[in-house]
């Protein structure tokens, strides 16, 4: 297990460190400011904080000394004339995803934003450019729309370590897109997904993958917690299969995590339907499958089982080795050292948690 845990929260960037068997706060930065993503680049141990100032717009900061000092870099911005729709200027409204470009591209960083633009930096974040090929995709203006946010947003960026020019992204609401040439061209990968909210169920885009991940041990195995169910692919998103628990708990939610050593073992954090978005029957539960989604079991030991309203946002469930951690919408932080069998409270008094990531 990595022994640092970074949190992006509604009121701060928070880093915890695991020492002597306990998680202790190591760093609190940007107090009072919403941090949409707290991200550690494992190649350099650079920490990133994507800020969502209520008044002053989206900002991006990085730290090379574990949060002791921060440097502001120019946040991704849309070029003059870029439009969300005809006549609606595009501006960066939210940073919703960050991912490093891999070993082959040591200076490359990807950033996903609302309103649907993917940005890339080739100089470790000093400058970001809009990926025009995706922004100009013929489906964007008419076939993408807001889901969870007012405008379409890129919340998932999955770089294949076997070929780091191959990237899958998840967009709410559009679906899954793949490039095999570092973003020059894009393919839609929504086959097998369904979306009961679409006026046209046969639409090419408009799907709502809440989060998209690939299995560390086999990147052809991909998982997504979708708005409508849980989907799994065994061929790198060419085809998706519904593996949600029919009539059970593991169906609707936002977050998903996959075991590093087993592509068939995954965890989801269910929420109570897409109508109320509260804990299922007032009880907090993580669900785990060990067989690729054929069966799911509830993991509740140590989690509150009554009068609970918490749900877990899409980036707020993290995994490292046997350890899992998640932060909730009501500021609770839980940790499991044993793949979800038992849960411990780390803190009950945090701000709303947007993101969680284990780091070195």
């Amino acid at each position: 297990m990595k022994r640092t845990l970074l949190l992006g929260t509604r009121k701060a960037f928070i880093a915890y460190q695991f020492k002597n068997g306990k998680w202790k706060s190591e760093n609190i930065s940007f107090e009072g400011i919403p941090v949409s993503i707290a991200y550690a680049d494992p190649r350099t141990n650079t920490w990133w904080a994507a800020l969502d100032h209520g008044h002053w717009g989206v900002k991006l900061h990085r730290s090379n000394d574990r949060g002791n000092t921060w440097e502001e870099v120019t946040a991704p911005s849309y070029p003059e004339g870029a439009e969300i729709k005809n006549g609606v200027p595009a501006t960066t409204r939210y940073i919703w995803a960050m991912a490093h470009g891999g070993k082959k591209f040591p200076q490359r960083i990807w950033v996903g934003t609302d309103p649907g633009g993917l940005f890339v930096s080739e100089d470790n974040g000093n400058n970001f450019q809009l990926v025009k090929s995706l922004w100009d995709h013929p489906t964007r203006k008419e076939g993408w729309f807001g889901g969870g946010r007012d405008q379409p947003g890129i919340h998932s960026i999955v770089v294949d370590p076997r070929n780091e020019e191959r990237i899958h992204i998840g967009i709410s609401c559009a679906g899954v897109f793949e490039t095999t040439n570092s973003g020059k061209t894009w393919h839609i990968r929504n086959k097998g997904m369904w979306a009961d909210f679409l006026a046209n169920p046969d639409a090419e885009t408009g799907f709502d993958p809440h989060i998209l991940v690939a299995a560390n041990s086999n990147h052809d195995i991909m998982w997504q917690q979708n708005h409508c169910s849980i989907f799994r692919s065994s061929d790198a998103a060419l085809n998706w299969e519904d593996v949600g628990q029919k009539g059970g708990t593991a169906r609707f939610g936002f977050a998903i995590a996959v075991a590093e050593d087993n592509p068939d073992q995954a965890w989801v954090a269910p929420a109570n339907s897409d109508m109320t978005r509260t804990a299922v029957r007032g009880a907090l539960c993580i669900c785990r499958t060990d067989d690729g989604g054929k069966t799911w079991k509830d993991q509740r030991n140590g989690l509150p089982q009554e009068e609970c309203f918490d749900i877990i946002y899409r980036h707020a469930l993290a995994l490292s080795g046997d350890a899992l951690a998640f932060g909730t919408t009501t500021g609770n932080l839980f940790f499991s050292p044993d793949r979800g069998e038992n849960w411990q409270v780390v803190n009950n008094y945090l701000p709303m948690v947007y993101s969680a990531q284990f780091a070195d």
């Binding site: 100032h53 717009g57 911005s77 849309y78 003059e80 501006t91």
Partner: protein
């Protein structure tokens, strides 16, 4: 509140000069398309500007330009 004597005939010039004193300030007040951010207001001699997207409101040599963030959130 901070008073900054500034010269300029347009908001473009005003923000250019402000940026020379406080690098990056304009990116906090304006978005990348040059529009005033949603929760920020600008007053010219006590009157709120009318053009938030292109900032074409005019002012005089001795006008007071007052930049204010809205009071919101929680």
């Amino acid at each position: 509140m901070k008073d900054v004597p500034t010269e300029g005939n347009s908001f473009t010039e005003i923000f250019r000069e402000l940026d020379s004193h406080y690098p990056g300030l304009s990116k906090y007040v304006l978005d990348e398309q040059g529009s005033l951010r949603k929760h920020v207001n600008i007053f010219i001699d006590g009157k709120i500007i009318s053009d938030r997207s292109k900032l074409t409101d005019t002012f005089l040599v001795n006008s007071e330009i007052y930049i204010m963030q809205a009071l919101s959130g929680g």
